[in-house]
């Protein structure tokens, strides 16, 4: 590659990185905004959040196009290739998180007028806090290429998983006490699941960052076991 082409190449890679950070910011803001709308029963706010997802979709398509362009025209190798592959995977992870935010927004209308118990509201707020934190930390690990931070994200996600379990219990206790009908309890349980899934996507992002930096994925361990078994069977 000539010097000029290389500069152009890295500029485009930097653009993709900036796009991804912006997408992460959109998801983080989306989680906060949708939680505020959910707790306030604000259908108008929820509709705005659903509309805002189009922006995220557009941005993710643009970023993907840039990645394809880089792959097709520059034929990168080694760390550059890993970076672009990571970027491609991350785009879909973040885009999916955005869809989950939209799903919560859609539930706002279905839960309209339902008075939630303080305990349930508090748990929703804590899930919001954890989901935002995980998303931001995953983006931090990505932007800084911080494999150490990426590796602790899985443990951080346990906090969100525990909150999710506690929340499900609280929702159904609320139903048993006759505070909410079963339809609403199920709807609320599904909402909790959306928060929990956002955390999982953040963990996926972090795993991809680990791969980017170290060339290793957690899945490699399992894959090695499977490969060993396959070889044994062949003998």
């Amino acid at each position: 590659m000539t010097e000029e082409v290389r500069t152009e190449f890295h500029q485009l890679m930097d653009e993709v990185r900036a796009d991804l950070v912006q997408m992460g910011g959109m998801v983080a803001e989306g989680i906060s905004a949708v939680t505020a709308a959910l707790l306030a029963g604000d259908i108008g706010g929820a509709d705005q959040i659903i509309a805002a997802d189009d922006e995220l979709d557009l941005l993710s398509l643009e970023a993907e196009e840039k990645c394809v362009q880089l792959l097709a025209l520059q034929q990168p190798v080694a760390v550059d290739l890993r970076t672009i592959l990571t970027d491609l995977r991350m785009i879909s992870e973040i885009e999916r998180s955005g869809d989950l935010v939209t799903n919560i927004a859609k539930a706002v209308a279905r839960l309209h007028g339902v008075e939630l118990e303080p305990r349930v509201r508090g748990l929703i707020d804590r899930m919001r806090e954890q989901a935002v934190r995980l998303t931001a930390k995953a983006m931090d690990a990505y932007a800084e290429r911080d494999a150490g931070l990426a590796s602790v994200l899985n443990d951080m996600d346990d906090v969100l998983d525990d909150l999710h379990n506690e929340y499900i219990v609280a929702v159904f206790e609320s139903h048993e006490l006759g505070k909410i009908i079963i339809q609403h309890a199920v709807q609320l349980a599904v909402v909790g699941r959306f928060y929990e899934r956002i955390g999982d996507h953040a963990v996926n992002v972090a795993e991809r960052v680990e791969f980017l930096v170290t060339g290793e994925l957690p899945e490699h361990l399992g894959a090695n076991r499977a490969r060993a078994r396959r070889e044994q069977d062949d003998c």
């Binding site: 910011g25 983080a28 803001e29 509201r121 508090g122 935002v132």
Partner: protein, 452 residues
């Protein structure tokens, strides 16, 4: 012989010419060197070419001169470096973020606030992305601005703008400014809500009294008349409460702490607990009194009673039967702006309402030394305050739940009074809350140092 003589003469002549040429060459090189050096030293412009300074004739002179220029250049570079550092530090003091890019879009200067905002990866990343876009259009010559609203909590409103930087229509780059307008937006909101809430709070009971008395005038049934009179009495009582609290608030605001004395904290808290024990019993809430301690504050006793009383009243009001309300007092270093509280969770949102929000009229005669503070804590296991409301509950007439407000009574001024009392004493209020888990109010006062 003649031939030899001619040869010698010719050789001499050639040598002379060569020597002459050499000398000429050297002197012209020295002249050129002189010109270059003078240009470096910034002295050449006024001099005509060839008019090198005559006092630098030998090579040694030039070397000495060059050395002095090198020293000056190093000093100039040093000054430039200091100048740059001074600009950077001055820019860091700005309350707005500033980013300057050159014509290629490469960042050439930015201040600390801008760096912080631009490197965020949470929702704040939207500010960074917006700035990048504005800088791009500014490089194309278009000045633009935009408002980025972040939900939080805490909610934030950031105004960002991009402007082209050009000298005589020659583009040199672009500058972006990001300003946090949260406080301004919030102040407007508070002012607007205050007027609306005040008229609502005052009009409702007055309107009710007018209607009830109209009905009373046309009513003959004695039983109904009694009921109507009772209702009128209750509504009048409500107005009286509001007026009392408003007067109390303005007194606390205007007078500051008039009557400062040594106040033993534990007996004061027990007095509050005693005062509200009947209220607590009715609500089936257990009031836990503080452990014994000899902590003394220099404070206005009446105001302190009022502040703690308001908190205890709220704590009982917003607790379910069977819950506890705990009163405690402890010395504090003041380092932990967020005292750990197992109930509300270490990561619970915190609101600080410090003296910066309210002017402190009077310094306590013996101020805090070594950062020593006293924390009075009122903790409940009640319904909690939504995360996005913790900043606003201290506003006058602000209600978290408008529907519940009338059922629970109260004037909506209690926490405003608390905030002012604490500010009067040079302290701050901290609030941790989690819905469904509980709320903890910490009143942090400067510790009383007995004068020697």
């Amino acid at each position: 012989m003649l031939i030899a003589l001619v040869t010698v003469a010719a050789a001499l002549a050639v040598a002379l010419v060569v020597l002459l040429l050499l000398v000429r060459g050297r002197s012209s090189a020295a002249e050129r060197l002189g010109r270059v050096v003078h240009r470096f030293a910034g002295e050449g412009e006024e001099r005509r070419p060839g008019e090198a300074r005559l006092d630098h004739n030998s090579l040694d002179d030039w070397i000495t001169y060059l050395e002095s220029i090198a020293t000056t250049a190093a000093m100039t570079a040093n000054l430039a470096e200091r100048d740059r550092a001074r600009w950077q530090l001055a820019m860091n003091e700005l309350a707005v973020g500033v980013v300057l890019v050159d014509e290629d879009g490469t960042v050439c200067a930015s201040n600390a606030l801008a760096d912080e905002m631009m490197s965020a990866r949470d929702a704040m990343a939207l500010v960074g992305a917006g700035v990048t876009q504005l800088l791009e259009s500014a490089q194309e010559g278009q000045a633009r601005s935009r408002t980025v609203k972040l939900t939080g909590p805490p909610p934030r409103v950031i105004e960002i703008s991009g402007h082209p930087v050009a000298s005589d229509s020659h583009a040199l780059g672009a500058v972006a400014v990001m300003a946090d307008c949260t406080d301004g937006v919030r102040t407007d909101e508070v002012r607007r809500d205050f007027v609306a809430n005040l008229s609502h709070e005052l009009r409702t009971p007055v309107g009710a009294i007018a209607l009830l008395s109209e009905t009373l005038a046309e009513e003959d049934d004695a039983a109904v008349r009694t009921r109507l009179v009772d209702r009128i009495g209750a509504e009048a009582e409500r107005v009286r409460h509001i007026i009392d609290d408003l007067l109390e608030l303005s007194r606390v605001e205007l007078e500051g702490t008039m009557a400062q004395e040594s106040v033993a904290v534990v007996p004061l808290l027990c007095e509050v607990a005693h005062q509200y024990s009947e209220h607590a019993r009715k609500q089936e809430v257990e009031l836990v009194r503080p452990a014994d301690s000899a902590i003394v504050l220099h404070a206005d006793r009446g105001q302190l009673l009022r502040a703690v009383g308001n908190l205890v009243d709220n704590a009982i009001k917003y607790s379910d039967p069977g819950a506890e309300v705990r009163l405690s007092v402890a010395p504090s270093s003041g380092d932990d702006r967020a005292p750990s509280d197992a109930l509300a969770g270490a990561d619970a949102p915190v609101a600080h309402i410090g003296p910066s929000e309210v002017p402190v009229p009077a310094d306590p005669p013996s101020g805090p030394s070594n950062g020593a503070w006293v924390d009075i804590v009122v903790a409940d296991e009640g319904i909690g305050i939504p995360a996005d409301e913790t900043e606003r509950v201290f506003e006058r007439f602000y209600r978290v739940d408008k529907a519940r407000a009338r059922a629970t009574g109260g004037t909506g001024l209690g926490l405003s009074i608390v905030r002012h009392v604490v500010a009067n004493h040079g302290g701050e209020v901290m609030l941790h809350s989690r819905e469904g888990v509980g709320t903890t109010f910490t009143l942090r006062f400067p510790a009383y140092q007995a004068s020697p």
